[in-house]
Symmetry: C2
Subunit: 421 residues, 2 copies
């Protein structure tokens, strides 16, 4: 039985654990050398395939591949590059097959979110049309947690842990200062379309550690008067409060709050930054002293405080992708199937890509508390297992010892130069 | 020999390790029960003394006091309340002595920065004038790292570690995205007057892990053209770069950059936020896609990634304060004395408060690289030992198990109500 090679690529925004999936793919492929040849990675994601810029992962040591498990970011480079539809740009898909044929790629592993699942589906279909045998398998990844079917998307659990830990720590800080200084702390988190990450801020408080926290979800229109009344109530009761605001919060007219207020000295709208908008409302409306933070990339890159559960799932899904390939599957995605909340038990399942692509999972309304400013018990039951366990990276000279691979290019075999659109 | 009680208070901005100093004070006092009575803590710092709102720490269990060592923030509450000068408000100092007399306080431990050292000095002098025997000892604390004589101020090492780790992680993230998306990441850090914290961003890169990082120090006037040229050069060479900007960076005319640009829709100046100003300059001047983060309280509250060296020093200084008191000292501050850089060796020394108060330590120019955008080897030699070692808190349900004390009030003994100014 002849071996065929693997193409693996990382797509879209990177996470603290996408490299753990890469580690799972590569280690599992290496363990099946009798059936799987070399794992080639796309440099900068799918662009690496289109431009035939492949990385030969067989030139990385076992130790360096193992270190991917504790290294955040995308070790081979990612990209924000959405393949057009088959109708619009069939040439892109044909080019992929051309490059795959040149390097005897039999397995296509695409590690990304919803758009990537759609690309992966199209690639899986086209290979049949073009008479080129290829198994296309999607490895789920996204901090947005918006893929359907799977219990959770790798990357989300670690962002959730970062946010929960940070909000707890900052709340302790504000509580200390509130008597004479800061009374309201505002922290902006990611989530343009869904409040999964903001919801994680609610985990900062629990029965053992009650803390006054308000969450502003993108699912609910921002009601300024109710918000300020709630802040005022919490400050009057507890002396302080923390506000976790999703970047995607919108005013009742549907505008992003982050887009509507802030201008620079020249009158240009500033991109991003809903935290200062909220903080300013608190200042104008209530005269309370405030501080604000915008975590931005820090939240999704924070491998130092990754969720052990998340790391294990990311690795397991990478391994499962290879195992599905070995089992002859095509056009599928391995998933996390939840068996129970507490203790959290899960196993690997399988979804058809046609059921995954172009489906966005929304956060259920019943994960949000009735007043709209916190998480419900159902939300907590869902979220809490995902942040369990710590999985610290090794340190060297006081800093996490993250690996930087050699990323040696594979010699080109096609004569064609492919111009990106 | 009769025992006398302790008054301990936390002052100014809190840190990830000020409670470790509190732990050192209380555990050491408890170990000398034959000579030291109860440790009373001021609720919300010195305000607790002025209003006779004392906390009886003897009602906390040994386990809870031990847990202070791994709990960020100020467990008894801090305050931003600067006592006026003796000439301006002698009544405040007399009130302190009145409350101390009522509770038989023989030891005054004040845990704070430069202003607090000055207050501590005045209290130590006044007690003699008023014929009330009191030993006043200052316990150093400040993320600003601006106290003289001591090698470092507890709290700084942990902020430095947080910043170095975060900049490394975010730099890995941007490197992954740069091909088609974000090329410049801007992170704002604390340091209104000195660049100690910004300098720590330089530790993110080292010989094992070279990363393109630009630091903007408050010590040097911001030169927009040179800055943009440097960003452009790094992006052209490496594909991306990270910028660490101190909140205190000023334009050549002396204005804070954070104060001069951003206005809300109504034209009001926005407080804080130099990161978006810098990011906007990059967008306007170079058209590069950017992301920006403002760490704010997250950086100083991040006990989850505290420097072990910092925690040990914070505890040791709390313990030393009590030992100095037992040795009969007054009007002093225990210090960290550096013996060697590598391996880092240090011991506890002692400084007179008159040499500490109203002295601000600046960062030496030779800690900054010649081009002004990074740290020098001298700066690295100074900084690197301070972030060594991890000292993880215990976790419970996926979150750091920080202690919240009972903070039981001591019955009042003075009839006077003292009105704060």
């Amino acid at each position: 039985m002849s071996t065929r090679n693997v193409f693996y690529a990382q797509s879209g925004g990177v996470t603290a654990v996408i490299n753990a999936s890469a580690c799972g793919v590569i280690e599992t492929a290496r363990a099946h050398a009798a059936r799987i040849g070399t794992v080639f990675a796309g440099r900068n994601g799918i662009i690496g395939a289109l431009t035939e810029d492949l990385i030969d992962t067989s030139q990385e040591s076992a130790a360096d591949i193992a270190a991917l498990r504790h290294t955040p970011s995308g070790a081979f480079g990612s990209c924000r590059y959405k393949l057009k539809s088959l109708e619009q740009n069939r040439a892109e898909y044909e080019r992929l097959i051309e490059v795959f044929r040149a390097h005897d790629i039999g397995y296509f592993f695409y590690n990304g979110g919803g758009d990537s699942a759609d690309t992966c589906l199209k690639v899986s279909q086209l290979s049949a049309t073009l008479g080129y045998p290829l198994q296309a398998i999607h490895v789920p990844k996204t901090v947005d947690n918006d893929l359907p079917i799977t219990d959770v998307c790798p990357g989300f659990g670690s962002v959730a842990k970062y946010v929960a830990v940070s909000v707890r720590e900052a709340s302790f800080d504000v509580a200390s200062m509130a008597k004479t200084s800061t009374k309201v702390f505002v922290m902006e988190v990611m989530g343009r379309h869904a409040g999964w990450i903001a919801a994680a801020g609610g985990l900062a408080a629990d029965a053992d550690c009650p803390l006054p926290i308000i969450i502003l979800f993108p699912e609910l229109p921002f009601d300024q008067a109710r918000f300020l009344a709630r802040v005022d109530e919490l400050v009057k009761t507890h002396g302080y409060c923390s506000v976790v605001v999703s970047e995607g919060v919108r005013s009742p007219d549907g505008q992003f709050l982050s887009d509507q207020g802030i201008r620079d000295a020249f009158g240009h709208a500033q991109l991003g930054g809903v935290a200062p908008v909220i903080a300013n409302l608190v200042r104008e409306g209530l005269k309370y002293k405030y501080h604000w933070a915008v975590a931005d990339y820090l939240q999704r890159a924070a491998r130092h405080i990754a969720s052990k559960t998340d790391v294990e799932q990311a690795y397991a899904l990478g391994r499962a992708a290879v195992e599905l390939a070995l089992a002859g599957r095509n056009s599928v995605m391995p998933t996390i199937v939840r068996e129970s909340d507490e203790p959290y038990r899960w196993h690997i399942g399988e979804a058809k890509l046609e059921d995954v692509a172009n489906q966005e999972r929304k956060m259920p309304r019943d994960f949000i508390s009735e007043d709209g400013f916190g998480i419900s018990e159902a939300g907590r039951r869902y979220l809490l297992p995902l942040i369990q366990g710590e999985d610290y990276p090794p340190y060297r000279h006081g800093l996490p010892d993250y690996v930087r691979l050699r990323n040696i290019a594979v010699p080109k075999k096609t004569a064609t130069h492919f111009a990106l659109k």
